[in-house]
Each structure stands twice: as structure tokens, then as C-alpha cells.
């Protein structure tokens, strides 16, 4: 993946002179470098995705028709339709040509353009995983800062332990547990939430649907947040701790500022940088969805689409999704790189 800028990543040009032009040159060079890296990564991902899934054992046509009464002619017709009767180099050229035209191919199993399938499911995934990421980040940020500020206290220890415990819990297991306890209900506890899916079969549309979707989101989002907020908490905690020994905080205190203010006005903004990077990276991964959570809760997103495609294997579908997932990470990385100079003055020079 792209490397993250560090201080001095863009050395000043030898003939650097004060004024706007050299500075613009540096910015352009920085930008160009990042864009080039991203483009190269993207090309590598496209080539990889073609060959990666062809290593998978199993014949897609045999898998799709397994247990069904099909004739040899039907199998051959399917192979021809999918282009599987062509030599590999030919399939590769077709794939490359398709990608250049932004044509993601046609799914073997669903008989529909992959782009259509993706468009249908990208919304649910972004809604679920995006909401989860934002809540987890906010939660981790607040709790991590508090934990660091009172490091060693009972609160810190409990906070960190709970987060790490949840981090190590398999998400599908936690999801099932929540379904048993909060959805189907147990003992005196009634079932509060739907067991799965994204909406009820008949909703009136408009606000009704929005509420219905929100209701369906509660458990999957809770599962996701519970499992992932630990990484935000730990990173925030350690970067606030890093800041705490700094002279500038001592100075701030010496000026007579209250502890609370020193924390929020001085320590936290500086400690935020690593978290920002993490949020960007995770936002990139949002498109990959949370495959297990989507599966347990039958959430109609890209993750469950990928899962069902892998089982066949539905080659056009999985290779396109792989490219999409990887591109999202590459693009978010690029954005992080581009935003960084705005946050960190040293990268600007």
C-alpha cells in the first residue's frame, strides 16, 4: 500500500527559493508522487484479482449445477456463455479490456451485470459499516482519551480490558448472542429487535421505511461497534499518553489552565492524528463490509454478496468486488495522504 508521509518525505528542491513557485512545485511533486503510487497500486490490484480467483479449485459450472439434472450440452453451453472455454490469456485480455471500459462483466449466477449488483448493495453496506465505523471511532476517541488521562485508575483498567475483551470476540458469535438475547428474547426479556434483514417485507415507504431500517440496524451496528471500537480506544489512549509527558502541556498547566482544558485544547488535537489515519483506512475498508456480520444478520450488502460469490466461485463477481474493495482502500489512503499536510504542518514543508 502507499506509504504514509513522515517529516521530510518531500525534500526541498536544491534551488528552493522563497516565493510561491517552488512551494507550488513541492506541492505538485508531493501530489504527483501520491497519485502515481495510487495508480500503480490500482493496476497491480486489477491484475492480481484476475489470477487470484483463478487459483481457486473447482469448476464454476459444475458448482452451479451441482445436484441438478443437467445434460452435458447444458454444461457446455454455460461454459461457452461464461467464456470459460477460451484460453486463459484470452480471458485475461477480455477482462483487461472490460476493466478499461469500466465494464465489470456479467455475474455467472445472477445473470446480471456485476455493476448493477454492486450498485444495489453498496448503499446497505455503506450505511451499516459507515455508521458502525463512525460510532466506534467516536466512542473509542472519548473513552481512549479518558482512559489515558486517568491512566492506571480503576476506570482505565476496566475500560481497556472490556474493549480488548470485545475486540477478541468473534463478531458472528457476538451477533448470534445478541439475536438470541435481544431479538428472539429469552426468559422475561422480550424480543426487542428484528432478528435479521434490512427491512420488513411491507413497509409503507418514506419515514416508515427509514424507521424500519433504523430498527433493523441496531443489532448489527451494535455488534460491529462492540468488536471494533477497541482499536480506536487503544490508539487514542496511547497517543494521548505520548503527549502527556510533553513540555507544552506543562507550560499550558503553568499558565494556569484547568486540567480539562489542557486535555481538550492541547493534548487531544495533537493526539488525534493517528486516529484520523485509522479512520480513513477503515472507511476504505467499509466497502469490503463486515462480511461475517452481514452474513449473520442477512444484511443485503457487498460483504454477503462477496460471500455468496466465493462459494460458486462466480469469477466476474468476486474479481470485481476484490478490485472495488482494494480501490476503496487505495483511494482512502490517497485521501489521507492528501489531507495530512493540512493537519500536520511539517508535511507541508
Amino acid at each position: 500500500m502507499t506509504d504514509t508521509p513522515t517529516a521530510g518525505a518531500a525534500p526541498p528542491a536544491p534551488d528552493a527559493a522563497p516565493g510561491a513557485r517552488p512551494r507550488a512545485g513541492r506541492v505538485l511533486r508531493y501530489l504527483g508522487g501520491r497519485l502515481l503510487t495510487a495508480a500503480v497500486s490500482l493496476a497491480a490490484v486489477m491484475v492480481t484479482s484476475f489470477f487470484l480467483f483463478r487459483i481457486l479449485p473447482g469448476d464454476p459450472v459444475a458448482a452451479m449445477t451441482e445436484g441438478r439434472e443437467v445434460s452435458v450440452e447444458q454444461m457446455e453451453a454455460l461454459r461457452r456463455e461464461f467464456g470459460l472455454d477460451q484460453p486463459l490469456w484470452r480471458q485475461f485480455l477480455d477482462y483487461c479490456a472490460g476493466m478499461l471500459r469500466l465494464d465489470l462483466g456479467v455475474s455467472y449466477e445472477f445473470h446480471r451485470p456485476v455493476a448493477e449488483l454492486v450498485a444495489e448493495r453498496i448503499g446497505p453496506t455503506v450505511l451499516l459499516a459507515g455508521t458502525g465505523t463512525l460510532i466506534a471511532a467516536a466512542l473509542g476517541l472519548v473513552l481512549g482519551t479518558r482512559a489515558a488521562w486517568r491512566r492506571g485508575s480503576l476506570g482505565d483498567r476496566v475500560n481497556s480490558s472490556v474493549a480488548l475483551l470485545l475486540w477478541s470476540v468473534p463478531s458472528f458469535w457476538l451477533g448470534l448472542l445478541l439475536i438470541v438475547v435481544l431479538a428472539s428474547g429469552t426468559g422475561w426479556l422480550p424480543g426487542l429487535f428484528p432478528t435479521s434483514g434490512m427491512m420488513s417485507a411491507d413497509t409503507a415507504g418514506g419515514l416508515d421505511t427509514a424507521i424500519d431500517v433504523a430498527h433493523h440496524m441496531v443489532l448489527p451496528v451494535a455488534t460491529m461497534v462492540a468488536v471494533v471500537y477497541a482499536q480506536y480506544l487503544m490508539i487514542m489512549r496511547s497517543s494521548v499518553l505520548d503527549e502527556m509527558g510533553s513540555d507544552y502541556l506543562t507550560t499550558a498547566r503553568a499558565k494556569g489552565l484547568r486540567d480539562d482544558l489542557v486535555l481538550r485544547r492541547h493534548a487531544v488535537p495533537n493526539a488525534l492524528l493517528p486516529t484520523v489515519t485509522l479512520i480513513f483506512l477503515n472507511l476504505g475498508r467499509v466497502f469490503g463490509g463486515v462480511i461475517l456480520i452481514e452474513t449473520v444478520f442477512a444484511w443485503p450488502g457487498l460483504g454477503s454478496l462477496f460471500y455468496s460469490g466465493l462459494k460458486v466461485p462466480d469469477l466476474p463477481l468476486v474479481q470485481a468486488l476484490f478490485v472495488i474493495f482494494a480501490s476503496a482502500v487505495i483511494i482512502m489512503n490517497l485521501l489521507a495522504d492528501l489531507v495530512y499536510p493540512l493537519l500536520d504542518p511539517r508535511v507541508r514543508t
Binding site: 479449485p57 453451453a77 439475536i179 431479538a183 422480550p190 432478528t195 499558565k255 480539562d260
Partner: protein, 624 residues
């Protein structure tokens, strides 16, 4: 993929930019508060949503475990899609719900010619498509002809028409099909007949999925009225159906990838019917209030096949199967070493029956059991003696060697996605060790397994088939014809080729007009399969299902009694289902109360967090 966390930044100076960070902080607080309060809002409005979901009349909700691949009967491969099609499009002839015998559907009668090459079907009178157009023999002729002429339209059911010479409508109600050779499956033509006036408008059958315009025009007891990809399919009763209009107004098939989640949804009353339960799940539902567990006799058999030496139709050998397995004595000894009762108890918790023949006992006409000396019953001592006598000597480690000097070390490929196979495999390993055969159990992905099978690179491989009321297809995959023309193209799951078997196969195919003779022939074929011991049929696992008896009063099983409800050969369980009198659904508290509690909890928690955040920011500002 590595996550690189940049080094932290040195302080911007003791008096950095308080204004900017203050704005950022306030923005963050707002964001958090906004998120929390919107959660609270969603909670407050919950009762409306819950009530909307509940205010349904006679609706049945069925949990399904696959998303729909296509709603075009020309394309659909998956069980879920073909099951939906059985409710929406009738074929000419179906299967009787009770006996599985051929049953009039669109056709009320049929007549083969003396040479069996011409079949004349007479359609019922006065039938209408769900849009009011008449259903005629033209529709049937068009459907078959399209499948014969367009390979895309033959994707799903092409095997039925492969042997067709032509299909034509003699008049509005008479269809004549001419065959190239006689075929017994003319009595089980459950190919969906489509309305020509709708489908002839389609340009490309390869990419028409029949899922854009609802309601879909059909002939069955239901019509498709909605489809949310990857979520649900809705069908509603068709008032123009030629038979009894279903009592359930609506059936919703809801997709769940996870089986445990399905069971929880049933417990809660969110779904009315769940199928494909594991024995443990069935046990946990047994005796629960308002839930009925249906233990149906299985449609499927579970087996492993032995590689008797893979070869092509021309006799070219390939693969690396263990050479000793070409010996029938060894194959029979393997069969005798296995205790099928043990498998039933251990792997299925008793929800299965030990199997001998290839066709499950739910089809009594074709069911076969070995008698007397033909029976290769569980008897490890006898198996050991057979091997001793045949010259398989035991080494010091207890493993035998074949007379040719090959150690009896076998590989076994087991599908890692089938819990029952995974549970049975170690037992087989143990039992075969008892007779001096070492087996290495390889749990692999289905793709790996299928590659091993097609390349002939296996010794023992797990398999299993669903057997239709007409068993022609599953019998056909063991003819010499099913051997691959070249390595990698085999049709079946064993390199089985036996002339006697092939002769009998041809006989049963020609005996389309003499059911008793056909059944007798089919039994003889099973006797050959059993004796050759290439296919070791082990069990017929029960089909385990459960439904909410407070939502469904009764459903028609197939066969009756002892049959299954989901995945029938026909629409009987759904078209004949009777709603329970109080089909409100939901156990314990009412939906409204539940939603109310949920709303209260979320509002209180949300409000508390919101206040806390506000208080903290206010006090901080005050201190400033």
C-alpha cells in the same frame, strides 16, 4: 495490508490555536450529540415500524437460506428459485401430493403412441393466465420450442427437451410432442410452461430475469408480486387459478444466510416455516409452545463412492486411484466394515434411517432392499476373513497389503461444508482401521473435492443426491455413457460402468407404459449397484422442518404421510396451507409492548448521554 500509523506531531506551541481546536471540539460534540439523539429519535418512533410489520392478514413467512439467482424459469438453477416457480407456473404433468404418481396439472390427460415417440397432451378447459388471457396449447408448444432452439432458454431445464424432435399445438387444447427416442420422463414433465404473449417480447433470454415488472404473469396458485434482491420474494394468491385458490393471501420468502438466525426468527414468530434443520436444532424446538417439528422421510441419500479406476468412454485410464480398489472383494469388505446404525445414531441423533438401495424408502415403488445372502451386512469379522482369503496380508502395524504389494492406505475426500459428512467421516476411518485399511480423511472445500473427482485423483469420496419421484436421472449417471469422453468431463460421481446395468437402464426407459415392470427393472439396477459396491449408500437422512402452529393450522406433506413441506415436487404444501385462527404471531409480549419498551430504553439512554455531553461542555465553557 499494513496499517501505518504516523508518528505523533510535536506540540504546535504552548499557545497553539485555541480558536481552531475549540471549533473542532464543538463540532465533534455536536456530531456525537447528533448521532446519539438520532438514535433516540429512531427509538421513539419504533412502535410505528413494529406495528406496520405486524398488521398483516394471512401471511406466511418462510425462511430461505439462498438468495434467488434468477426469477426466469429458463435460467434459475437454485432450489429456492425453482421452488418459487413451482408456485407460479404449472407444468403439464406434476406429482401427486400423496403418492408421487403423475398428476394432472395444466394437462388433464395424456396419451403416448404405440412406439412411444409421439405424446399427445390434452389441456384443461377454460384456464386463464393471471392477467386474464387464455392458457392454450400454443403456450406450451412455444415454451418447449424456445428451449429447443435457444441455448440460453435451455439453461435450467434443457435436459428435458434434448430428445425432442418437435412440439406443436394441434388446436387450443391439444399439444403433440415428437421424440427422437422413447423417454420415460414424459410423465414427469414439470417444466414450467410460460405465457407466450408475455415472453415472446423478450429479446435475450440470457439476461432477462423476469424481475422488473410485477405482478408476474403465471398460471399457478400464486403470482410473484415483489422481489427485494438478497432479501425477500413475495408471492400472492392468484384469483384466476384453475384449482382452489390458496387460503394464505400472501407468502413471503425471507433470506437468512445463517441457519441459527432462522431458528431464532421462528422462535420469535417472525417466520412461519423453517426447513433444513440440524438434529440439534430440531431437538431444541421440539416441545416448544406454538411450534410443530416435522420429521419427514428423506428425499436424499448420503453415500461415498469408491474409485474403481477412472477411465474414459474409450477405455483410457487416468487419475491416481488406489489400484487395489479395482477388486470387488475389497470394495465389498469396505461396505461390510461399516455399521450404518452407528452412523444414524452418532451423526444424525437418530433422525435418519440406515440405507442399502439407491432410492430412498419414501418412494415405495422403487425402494429396494437386499435379501438373504445378497446382504452385505455389518460384520467386521467376515470382512476380515474375506480379505485374508483374498490374500490381503496384515503387516506388523495392522495395515494390510494387497496381493500386488500395495499398502491399503486410502484417501477420503469429505465436503467441509456438510456437517453430516464431517461427522460420519471419522467413524468410517475407525471402522476401516478395524479391517486393516488406513484412511486419511481430508476435509476440503467442495471445489477441491470436485476437482479430485473429475481428475480421478481420489480413493473414497463423499456424495449424495436428492432423488426425484422419477429416478431416471440419478440412475442415468451410472451408465457407461456417463463416463467422461475425455478426462474431466464425467457426469456422475463414480467411474461406474457395467453392461448389465446399462441394459436394464435402457429397459426401464422404454417401459414408460408399464409402471410395474419399470419399477422391477429399477430394483434390479440397484441390486447391481449394491453388489458392485462402488457406491456405498449409507443413510437416508430425515428432512427436519418446523413451523409456527399459531400461524399455520395445517400444511399438506408430500408424500402423505411422512413427507416434507418445503422443497416439494409441486406447490401442494403452500397452495393447500390453512392459516391458524389467530395468526397474529409473536410469542410472549405483544409487538406493541415490546416496541414500547425498546423505545423507552433507547430514549432514556440516548437522552442521558445527550445531557451528559451537553453538561460537560457547558461546565467546561463555564470554567473557561
Amino acid at each position: 495490508m499494513s496499517t501505518v500509523i504516523p508518528p505523533t506531531v510535536p506540540p504546535p506551541g504552548a499557545d497553539g490555536v485555541p480558536g481552531a481546536s475549540g471549533t473542532r471540539r464543538r463540532a465533534a460534540t455536536k456530531l456525537l450529540a447528533g448521532a446519539v439523539s438520532s438514535l433516540g429519535l429512531a427509538g421513539a418512533l419504533l412502535p410505528a415500524g413494529a406495528a406496520a410489520a405486524e398488521a398483516e392478514g394471512d401471511t406466511m413467512t418462510v425462511a430461505i437460506s439462498q438468495p434467488v439467482d434468477s426469477l426466469s424459469p429458463f435460467l434459475a438453477q437454485r432450489l429456492i428459485s425453482t421452488s418459487v416457480h413451482k408456485m407460479v407456473y404449472e407444468g403439464l404433468i406434476g406429482y401427486d401430493p400423496e403418492t408421487n404418481e403423475p398428476h394432472p396439472m395444466l394437462a388433464e390427460s395424456w396419451e403416448p403412441s404405440d412406439d412411444g415417440l409421439t405424446w399427445t397432451y390434452t389441456l384443461r378447459e377454460g384456464m386463464e393466465w393471471s392477467d386474464g388471457e387464455p392458457i392454450t396449447a400454443e403456450d406450451a408448444a412455444w415454451t418447449f420450442t424456445t428451449m429447443m432452439e435457444d441455448s440460453d432458454a435451455a439453461t435450467a431445464n434443457g435436459n428435458y427437451v434434448e430428445n425432442f424432435e418437435k412440439a406443436e399445438a394441434l388446436d387450443e387444447r391439444t399439444l403433440e410432442v415428437t421424440l427422437k427416442e422413447p423417454q420415460a420422463t414424459m410423465l414427469s414433465m414439470d417444466v414450467p410452461i410460460l405465457p407466450e404473449h408475455v415472453w415472446s417480447e423478450v429479446d435475450d433470454f440470457g439476461d432477462f430475469n423476469n424481475d422488473e415488472e410485477f405482478p408476474v404473469v403465471g398460471s399457478g396458485p400464486f403470482t410473484i408480486t415483489g422481489h427485494e434482491p438478497n432479501q425477500s420474494v413475495t408471492i400472492e394468491a392468484n384469483p384466476r387459478y384453475h384449482g382452489d385458490v390458496p387460503e394464505f393471501e400472501k407468502v413471503v420468502f425471507r433470506y437468512f444466510a445463517d441457519q441459527d438466525a432462522q431458528v431464532e426468527a421462528l422462535r420469535k414468530g417472525e417466520v412461519s416455516l423453517v426447513s433444513g434443520l440440524t438434529p440439534a436444532q430440531a431437538d431444541s424446538l421440539e416441545g416448544q409452545e406454538d411450534i410443530t417439528v416435522n420429521k419427514a422421510s428423506g428425499k436424499r441419500f448420503q453415500a461415498f463412492t469408491v474409485n474403481p479406476g477412472a477411465e474414459t468412454q474409450d477405455g483410457e485410464e487416468f487419475g491416481d486411484g488406489h489400484p487395489a480398489l479395482e477388486d470387488k472383494t475389497l470394495r465389498q469388505a469396505i461396505m461390510m466394515a461399516i455399521d450404518k446404525e452407528e452412523l444414524v445414531d452418532t451423526a444424525y441423533g437418530g433422525y435418519a434411517e440406515p440405507a442399502e438401495g439407491y432410492i430412498p424408502s419414501r418412494y415405495p415403488d422403487y425402494y429396494w432392499e437386499p435379501e438373504g445372502d445378497d446382504r452385505l451386512a455389518f460384520d467386521p469379522d467376515a470382512a476380515n476373513k474375506m480379505l485374508d482369503d483374498a490374500g490381503y496380508e496384515k503387516g506388523d502395524d495392522g495395515i494390510r497389503e494387497s496381493p500386488d504389494g500395495d499398502r491399503l492406505e486410502l484417501r477420503m475426500h469429505t465436503h467441509n461444508d456438510r456437517p453430516d459428512y464431517v461427522a460420519m467421516a471419522p467413524i468410517i476411518v475407525e471402522r476401516l482401521a478395524d479391517i486393516g485399511i488406513a484412511v486419511e480423511n481430508q476435509e476440503v472445500d467442495p471445489g477441491v473435492l470436485s476437482d479430485a473427482l473429475h481428475n480421478g485423483e481420489y480413493d473414497l469420496i463423499w456424495t449424495g443426491w436428492s432423488v426425484n419421484p422419477d429416478p431416471d436421472y440419478v440412475l442415468g449417471i451410472h451408465t457407461c455413457d456417463a463416463l467422461p469422453e475425455e478426462p474431466g468431463t464425467m457426469r456422475g460421481d463414480a467411474y461406474f460402468c457395467n453392461e448389465d446395468y446399462d441394459e436394464l437402464y435402457a429397459e426401464q426407459l422404454a417401459a414408460y407404459d408399464d409402471p410395474e415392470k419399470r419399477a422391477e427393472t429399477i430394483k434390479q439396477m440397484q441390486a447391481i449397484l449394491y453388489d458392485e459396491a462402488v457406491v456405498d449408500v449409507l443413510t437416508y437422512a430425515d428432512t427436519l422442518e418446523a413451523y409456527r402452529s399459531d400461524q399455520i393450522a395445517s400444511m399438506q406433506p408430500q408424500p402423505d404421510p411422512g413427507g416434507n413441506l418445503w422443497g416439494q415436487d409441486g406447490h401442494w404444501s403452500f397452495s393447500g396451507a390453512v392459516p391458524a385462527e389467530s395468526s397474529s404471531g409473536g410469542a410472549g409480549l405483544s409487538g406493541g409492548a415490546i416496541a414500547g419498551i425498546a423505545a423507552a430504553v433507547v430514549v432514556v439512554v440516548g437522552g442521558a448521554v445527550f445531557l451528559l455531553v451537553r453538561r460537560r461542555s457547558v461546565t467546561a465553557d463555564d470554567r473557561e
